[in-house]
């Protein structure tokens, strides 16, 4: 946890991966896309590229995370759970910027109130500061 800023646009736009500030983002995105997709040749190539970039243990981690979130999205979409209220407030701007509100499953979450959006805008920078502080404290521990 260095407290460096990253650009998460790559989660919806793979062409932004190289500028994300996250090491090996291009290979990680390509691998994720390939595992979720159904092109076996693409998967073989993406796996080989990722293995070279992050090593076998990193590849295992990546496969685990893809597997985990292939599961978690189906839990959320299969039960119709609404987005938790604090996250709803904190992510209003992010969801708008990444067009996440256009997803069909957005219907499961009530629309944010005006006061909720304003509260989120106040809290989001503070949350970022808190995470960076936690990272620096734990890094020194």
């Amino acid at each position: 946890m260095s407290g460096d800023r990253v650009d998460v646009t790559a989660v919806v736009d793979p062409s932004a991966a190289a500028e994300s500030g996250i090491p090996n983002a291009v290979a990680l995105i390509a691998f994720s896309d390939a595992v979720v997709g159904n092109d076996e040749i693409e998967l073989e190539q993406a796996r080989a590229s990722l293995l070279e970039a992050v090593g076998f243990e990193g590849l295992v981690d990546a496969a685990g995370v893809v597997g985990n979130f292939q599961r978690m999205v189906r839990i959320a979409d299969g039960t119709g759970i609404p987005l938790d209220a604090p996250m709803r407030a904190l992510t209003a701007d992010l969801r708008r910027d990444l067009a996440i509100n256009d997803y069909p499953s957005a219907d499961n979450t009530p629309a944010e109130s005006t006061s909720g959006r304003l509260l989120g805008r106040v809290l989001a920078p503070l949350l970022g500061l808190a995470y960076r502080t936690m990272g620096r404290v734990k890094g020194k521990a």
Partner: protein
Amino acid sequence: METPTSDRIQFANAPGEVRSDIAAAHARFWQRLASAGTWWSGTERVAIAAQTRAAMGCKLCDSRKQALSPTAIDGEHDGSLHSHGLLTDATVDVIHRITSDSSRLGRTWFEKVQADGLGDTHYVELLGIVVAMVSIDAFCRGLGTPLHPLPDPVSDKAPSRLRPASAREDGAWVPMIPSDEAKGSEADLWSGRAPNVFRAMSLVPDAVRDLKYLLAAHYLEMGKVGDPSASRTLSRPQIELIAGRVAALNECFY
């Protein structure tokens, strides 16, 4: 002679040794899959797992996913004949829809699922099996190792049929245990405040237990998810990049 469950969990041809906690989590789920659950028998649970695999290459599911509406295309799911007598056609369709096109499920769809005879408890347990299978198979596919052979069902006991008394309607399609009421026999499910995604399957507490074990092996332990410094060989930003990308590919709002 039956093959022990642990022998079915192998990562043949992997260019390295897979972490033992992952193998253990897969073996634990495989053993539980084969046995009676809370609402489904061991035989039915393995049949649900088999249909989940069939869904991953199903031509009907592929066609429906490309269509403007998944209900616009009729047909029979690939592999559905194998479950005749064990699972109804409607149940097979539920498995295939969750596996292949979960972003377009909705409350109207769920209400029809219930009207077709699949109660909320059976649905949640089925969902728990489907999502665990998707997770484990995606891991193997990502690594390039063969899928684990499904276990042989064990018919040593009946489903327990335990419904948590505290589960209630709370904004989702299915009842959930409130965040602060995981107590007594459900005290192990989570501590403190739990986000909705951890509570989502709490109508069947064993489904949450399965979730926890696989979560810890594939991602992070439940208690460390909120710790931004938690990581593995990959850094936390790298981990969350993958998580966000998979969610976006599935168009999952949550």
